[in-house]
Every structure is written in structure tokens, then in C-alpha cells.
Amino acid sequence: MSDPMEEIRASYFVECEELLESLQDGLQQMDDGHDDSETINVVFRAVHSIKGGAGAFGLDDLVKFAHRFETAMDEVRAGRFVPDSAAIKLFFQCADILADLVRAARDDAVIPESITNPVLDTLDEMVGTSEEVEEEIEFAPMVLNLDLGGGGASGLPDLPGLPALSGLPDLPGLPDLPGLPDLPGLPELDSALPLPPASPAGQTDNSGNQLNHFRILFSPENSLYSSGNEPLYLLRALRDLGEIKVRCDTSTLPGLGDLNPENGYLSWIIELSTEENQTTVREVFEFVDGLCDLDIATADDTALIAENAVAPQPELTVTAEPDTSAARLPDLVPEIADILPDVTPEPEVAPALDKEPEPMDTSTAEYDAQSAAGAQSSAKATPTQPRATVRVDLERIDRLVNLVGELVINQAMLSQSVAETSLPQNSPVQTGLEEFLQLTRDIQESVMMIRAQPIKSLFQRMSRIVRESSAMLGKDVRLFTDGENTEVDKTVIERLADPLTHMIRNAVDHGLESTADRIATGKEPVGHVTLTANHRSGRIVIDVTDDGAGINREKVRQIAINKELIAADAQLSDTDIDNLLFLPGFSTADKVSNLSGRGVGMDVVKSAILGLGGRISISSVEGKGTTFSISLPLTLAVLDGMVVQVAGETLVVPLNAIIETLTLTEDDLRALGPQTHVVQIRGGFDPLLDLGAELGYRAPKDSYIGDIVLLIGQEDGKRAALVVDAIEDQRQVVIKGLEASYGRVAGIAAATILGDGQIALILDPVDLVSEATGRTRVPPKHLSIAG
């Protein structure tokens, strides 16, 4: 396959992801009780667009599934089927399968029909659509009925094939349309319409927007073309205003022999539904004022509806480029086929013919002969103006992030050398440097923002996990999400997916009681799992909360004793017991379920979160539920740190871990054992750790009096005092991973490059402290964390 095709394919799949997201959104809204037509339309359009693209790439499985799903959604949209919650659940399931199919198509994988078919059958059964009918429609020829200008078909004597075409016998929704006895001829309609009143008649559509309907007659004069204007652009401009239906009146088109290529023969009848007022509409034609016959009228409701009903028949739907249509209709309209190639080179008429497909193509492409109504509103898809975004290769952003990282290092180097020249404090160099510093920070933040994206996509995946796992366990569970627009670094989102999936499954499986138990304890039978994200002091905090039974601490304790994870007589606080859940090999489920409880659980979650520089904690109230709280750094690229000296080495301690710094006096220090000390700070005793000794840089000192300590706080409220030799600076540092080049080092989070070009290690205080306390429990050899 050629490259450009690959590219288009790739961008189709990217679009699919977006469409699937809006599909999820829409279904969620429907589930929440918003069943307005706009929401249903969003869902319909998402499925429809996926199908459309899939058809173009020959992804038959996807087309087949999407088609039947779409059919069902169409029933909903048409109001013939009102979905209840069970139906919406099924729709969700369909959306999930659709997502799987899209991904399978992308990866050239195949999803067996045994998975898709049962769901589809249920769907058909529920909605009451039968496959056969739809299938037939599916393969109905693309609509190619040329416009006859309303009732003016006879005006085109040299298009002999047309009457037959307009019959389109195999459109079930349409058969009686051509026969409409009171099909209003165009002229009558026009005269029946009121001329532009001062204030356009407004009406409210389903979505609640005030819509004005206009009927515009636009007949360019020859001078319009000769002055270089292009009706296509005008039509496009109109399309941007709102929903548009364009008919081209070709009735004045003479036979080929009489055709003067310098003249324009076409005029357009445009129906526009827009929120704009008439002045705005008129402004579109500002530049061709006097070069055309223009009549803008407010279409009144009834006329519009009448038009709509008739729409498929008289609507001009010349499909593609002129030559394509010529190729498709060789025997039907031989004359046109002859005309078009001839005419194309001519500047005046050619653009006029050329443009026809343009405003129409959306409606044509969307028009898949489902029903008149279907075609009608799918054309609506056009004017929704998306927020301007750019798709950028992640690699490019990463390169930029790296470069900015270098810039920060460079800036630090520069500051350092300027500081060494001992310039006066207020010299222009110093002020300039400060501004430079500010700018670098700004640039860095902006670059980080590029990488950041809403956590929503992750939450949507989780809602699927909840649906699937609750279905599997036969529990009735609802997922509530909050803060899904919280922005987090893309890498964090990606690496959070697995641990979060596990936590959600845990919440559904272990956290929530069975429905019977819930009823027995007087709770609402539907279990609630809540997923929230928010920013808290430079970190993102994600909470997974269930309203289940809470942690049965006695049971947890018993299991831990049985598995010899703790001593039988160990004195443990509630928090200690909760934290037992994070021990490797711990599993509380009485029976191993399919979902979780295979013994690899929360410990894996915990190490994944730690790997992201995050922390995880539990709070649980018996009978009320459990909350798992993950706190993560916003970005994995920079951090604010305190630069300290220990045993001749420079280290960086993350600033957010430091509660305070102090100099030890004799009174602060208490010996606990021969080698161990505690520090008495504000009434509390905290273990004293010599950083130099912990990292193996030097032997423990005899006395720490007069030394500087950093008081380190952990998420769970535990504290420790780290002895350092000197505090040098406080600055933002760029994180350089050690894992890729060397491997994981206990107590060290990463490395960074200082202003003098030297590498400094970034401490992971919590890891260090737990390492150290772990070591005291198991004296001879400390346990390794990394695998």
C-alpha cells in the first residue's frame, strides 16, 4: 500500500478514537437521562462516521457491525424506539465492541463473529430492526438523482434518463415521494413565501437554539464570473453559517449546441437553517452585490417541512467531480458526459459546474438511503465548528521537551558562571538573566502543557472496565466520574491505565458487596464506584472510591497472619492493617474470581504507582466503603528540588517531600539504641537517618549535634529526619531517568544535570526511608525492590 494511503488510514483511526470518545460521551449522557435529539445525533453520527470511513478502507467487519449499530441508533433517533437503561447498557456494549473492532482493524486483527453476532442479535431483537431489510438498503446504489429544479423537469429536454432516475424504486422510505400530488413546483413556492420581514421569523429546534430558516435564490449574472467571483465560496460561506440545503437550478441550461462557454446558466436555491440573522446571511453576498439576482426570504415552517419531505427527490445530488459523475452516468446522461470535459477548461462555466459537488458532497456522502429523515439530519453534521487543534507526533513534542530541558540546564550554567564573575547585584546582566530565567520557566511550562491532556480518555476506559467486570460478577454497579478534564502528562496517563484498571476491578470485585448483601444491609442495591481526579498542590490526586463494606480489618489481619506476612502477636494500627493489602502475595477474596484475586494485586499496583513517582494510600470505613488515593507528579520531566551536599556528593531532594529544615541541638536528639537516634520535633519523635550512611557514602557519624536535617513527610503522614552536610540551593531540575541507562537504584528517583555540568542524583526520600526502616526489620541484607 502506498504511503499516502497509509497516512490517510492512520488519520482515520485517529479520528475513530475521537469518534469513539464522543460516542462514549453521548451514551453516558443518554444514560444520565439526557435523551435530547442532539445527544442521540452525536451518538448516531459517531457510529455513522466510523462506518463511512471503514467502508472507504474496505473494513467489512467494521462496516457490518457499525451498520447494524447505526440502524439501531437510527431507530432511537427517529423516536421509534425509546431506550431504557438495559438498552443503553447494550449500546455501551456495542460501543465497546465497536472500539475493539476499530482497533482490530487498525492492527489487522480479526474479532470472531461469535463475539459480535450475539450482541447484534440482541440489539436487533430489542430495537426491532431486522437485518434483511437493512442489508438490502445497504447495497442500494448511491443516489444520483439529478436535480430537475423542483417541478421544472421538463425544462431539461436533453437529459433523457432522468425521469427514470427519480423513481428510485428500491428506497423503501421513499416510494410514495415522487408521487406526492401537491409537490409544490418551485415558482409557486417562491411566490408563496413571504418576502423578508424586518425581523426574521425564529423558531426553536430540539436542541434549544433559536434557528432562522432562509430560502435564498441566487442567480449569478455573467458579470459575476467575469469579475472573478466563485459561487462555490459563497455556498461554502453559507454552509458555515448553519445547516444548508442547496439545489442547483439547471433549467436555463441550453443544449450543447447553444451553450456559450462564456456564460453562466446556473442558479441556486438554498435553504439555510442558521442561528444567524438575515443581515449576516446577506453579508455573505456583499461582494457580489449587483452581480447577481439575490432573493433572501425567511422560509416559514410549513414550507420548510414540505420541502424536507420532498427533499430526496428534487435535491440535486450530483456526487463527485464532474468527470466522475460523467463516468458513472454514461448511459443516463450522455449529453452531460459530453459537455463536461468540453466545458471544464472554460473559466466561466467550469467553476460553476465544478462547485456543485462541493456543497453537496457532505449530504451525498452522508446520504446512504436509509430514509428520508436519515439523510436529512446527517447533513447536519457539516457545520459544527471544531476547536482548532493540531495533531502533532508525540516524538516531536518529546524532542521539544528535551531541548527545553537542555535550555534549563544551560540557563543554570550561565547563571552560575555569571555569579562567579561577581558582577554587582543590579547590573543589567543580572536583571537580564533573571528575565531569562523567568522565560525559561514559562517556556518549560508551556511545553509541558502540550504534553498534558485531559484524563478523560483514561476514565472512559475505566467505565468500560466497570461495565465488564460488573456484568461478569452479576453486580449492579454505576461509575461516577469527576474532574475528567484534569490535565495530566500523557505518559502518566498511559502508564496509569494498568494500575487503575486493577484498582477499579478490585473495587467492583472486592470493594462492593453482592447485590443481595447490599439489600440486606439496607443499602441501595446499585453499587457506586467513584473515580475523581483533581490537582492538589502541584500533584494530581486520583481517588477510587466504592461504597462497599469497607476493609474487614480483622479478616485482613488474620490472612496476613495465616500467610506469615506478620507475626501473630503484632500490634498494628488500622493504617498498618490497610497497608497489608499492598504486600506481595496478599489476597483477601475467599474464592479466586476471574477478575482479580490472583494474588498479584495491589502490590503490583503500588510498584507501578511508585514507578511514576506517585504514592498510594487507603482509607476505609467499615460498612461505608473504601477509598484508594493515588497522588502523582504532574509531569515526569521537571521537579522543584533542594540541592544538598552529603559526603562530598551533591544530591537533589524533591521539595514537595520536605516539610522543614532545621539544625539539630542536643535537646532535639535522643538515642534510641546504640546505632539509632530519634529526633524530637514539635512533640513528635521521628527517626533520624544519616543520608551519607544510608547511601553508603560514609560510615555513620558518632554525633549529629549541630548537623542540618531535612524533615521528610510521606503521604501517609509518617516522617523521617535526614541528615545532610549542607543545603546549597533550591531550584528546578530536569529529570533524567537512570533506569534506561543504568537501572534502578534504591533510594534514588532519577538524576539531573547541575549548572556546572555535573550530574546530581535526585533522591526518592520515601523509598529511602522505607528502605532504611525495612532494613532495620530485616537486619542482614536489605530486600531489593527492583525486578
Binding site: G405, I409, Y742, A746, I748, A751, Q758, I759, S784, G787
Partner: protein
């Protein structure tokens, strides 16, 4: 040695250097650059032959004291120490050596497998031997130099 099939009829180019007073060499294709010594930031809990990490234009580069790794006598550090930056698969490391000697082109047939003998530590790191001007040159197996993840994590 690494893959030589493509150039079996041509000679392999080797970069030879001195470590602990002995002649060693590596395939020049795996050498990225040679640079002067730099002060390494030591890593806690690292094996003795890992000097630490150095900054190679913004990349964190582990520095290996090759003499210590090979179990040779380590001379004292001087400014004349040289760091050879080599690619080991997806990782890049710096090897600290005494001095770089020469670039040699050795035909395939002049390279011998090291004889089987009671393996001391060094033996594992030598993939082939060759003689140049009466000096025996050991060709290093670079993949054996860097300990695998599990070994060093403990």
C-alpha cells in the same frame, strides 16, 4: 565478536587500548566516541566497578572502571584516563581505560578463540585473542561487561 558475516572477507577494525597495563580491544563499530576523563557522580549501592554516572551532553552515562571490572589492578586515577563510550545494545556506557593505543585491522583468520582453561573472572570477558607486533591483544565481549539488571539491583 559481534556480527561479522557481512565483512568476512575483510578485516575487522579494532580499537585497542591499555587497561591495568594490558592490551585490550573492542570492535570499533561499537565505539561511539572517546573522551577525556570526567568526574563521575557516584551511585549508592553500586558494585565497585561502577564509578558512577557522567554527563555526556545531557545524557546520563554510567561509567565503568574497566580495570576493576576485569579484576585487574587499578592504578590511581589520573587526568590522562580516557573514557571510551560504547554502545551495548540499547544502552550506552562509558568504559574508563588507561589510554587508547591504536586502531587495528585484523583479518578474521588471525583471530583465535581463547583457549579453554580454568575460568577466572577475566576469561569471561574475552571473546577472542590476536597477536599484533608480538603483543597479545584481547578482544572484549562487550555484552559481558555490563551486569544485567537483576544482578545489580540486588
Amino acid at each position: 565478536m559481534t556480527d561479522n558475516t557481512k565483512k568476512s572477507d575483510t578485516a575487522t577494525e579494532l580499537l585497542s587500548f591499555l587497561v591495568g597495563g594490558q592490551d585490550y580491544s573492542v570492535d570499533i563499530m561499537s565505539v561511539r566516541e572517546i573522551r577525556g576523563s570526567a568526574k563521575a557522580t557516584s551511585l549508592p549501592h553500586a558494585p565497585p566497578f561502577v564509578r558512577g554516572v557522567i554527563n555526556l551532553r545531557g545524557t546520563v552515562l554510567p561509567l565503568i572502571d574497566l580495570a576493576a571490572r576485569l579484576g585487574l589492578e587499578t592504578g590511581q586515577d589520573t587526568d590522562r584516563n580516557v573514557i571510551i563510550v560504547v554502545d551495548l545494545g540499547e544502552r550506552t556506557v562509558g568504559l574508563m581505560v588507561d589510554a587508547v593505543s591504536d586502531i587495528l585491522a585484523i583479518p578474521e583468520e588471525d583471530m583465535q578463540a581463547p583457549p579453554d582453561m580454568a575460568a577466572d573472572e577475566t576469561h569471561n570477558f574475552v571473546s577472542a585473542l590476536t597477536i599484533v607486533d608480538g603483543r597479545m591483544i584481547r578482544i572484549l565481549d562487550l555484552n559481558a561487561i555490563m551486569p544485567d539488571q537483576n544482578e545489580e539491583a540486588a
